[in-house]
Subunit: 116 residues, 2 copies
């Protein structure tokens, strides 16, 4: 679990859970359903990571929440706010830029710089 290789993998994945929650919660959802959706889309996470993250994103106003009291046991559902949609767009743009930067590292035609 504390194998350095695993820690580097976790570090690479960490920011993607925020992005995936913001994208999926453009359609309002419960924590548990979101956990299943994330897994289905290939994001490995667990309730102990996800639920505090949802509360943090709500506190930061990237998510809004409401209680559904129509059932016997009230459940909280979350939705991405306008500010959260903006963050999702910014993170997606950054991801694409990083993907380009990573490709350039192993590209046989190096980046053109002022020396050329």
């Amino acid at each position: 679990m504390n194998d350095p290789l695993d820690l580097h993998l976790q570090e690479l994945r960490r920011g993607t859970v925020v992005l995936s929650c913001l994208q999926l919660l453009r359609t309002p959802g419960y924590g548990y359903g979101l956990l299943e959706d994330l897994e289905r889309h290939g994001f490995a996470t667990d309730a102990n990571t996800l639920y505090p993250l949802l509360r943090r994103l709500e506190k930061q106003e990237f998510l809004t929440s409401e209680w559904n009291t129509e059932e016997t046991r009230p459940r909280k559902f979350y939705r991405t706010s306008a500010e959260g949609e903006r963050l999702a767009d910014i993170l997606t743009t950054e991801w694409n830029a990083l993907t380009g930067a990573i490709r350039s590292l192993t590209d046989p035609h190096p980046v053109t710089d002022e020396e050329n």
Copy 2:
């Protein structure tokens, strides 16, 4: 600096600096030259982040180092180890998988699951 948006961006970028160092140091290099190369390839970092990271990667045996004593002021140069090349390959594969997962979030054709 502690704006939540910036923190989420930093979190998304964090793991990529490890990957980019491992890829660039397949060709041995000094810390300072690496800092310039990273910037040229689009990875924003600074010496205060990079130098401790290089020492940590060396301790974890993903990098090896040697002192160049041919100059007046000895300088340490780093090189990616065989284990580091393996980690770079694993992180690249993970990055590509995450890119696919992120695309699937906004894909109009949703992931096929058992309900279909």
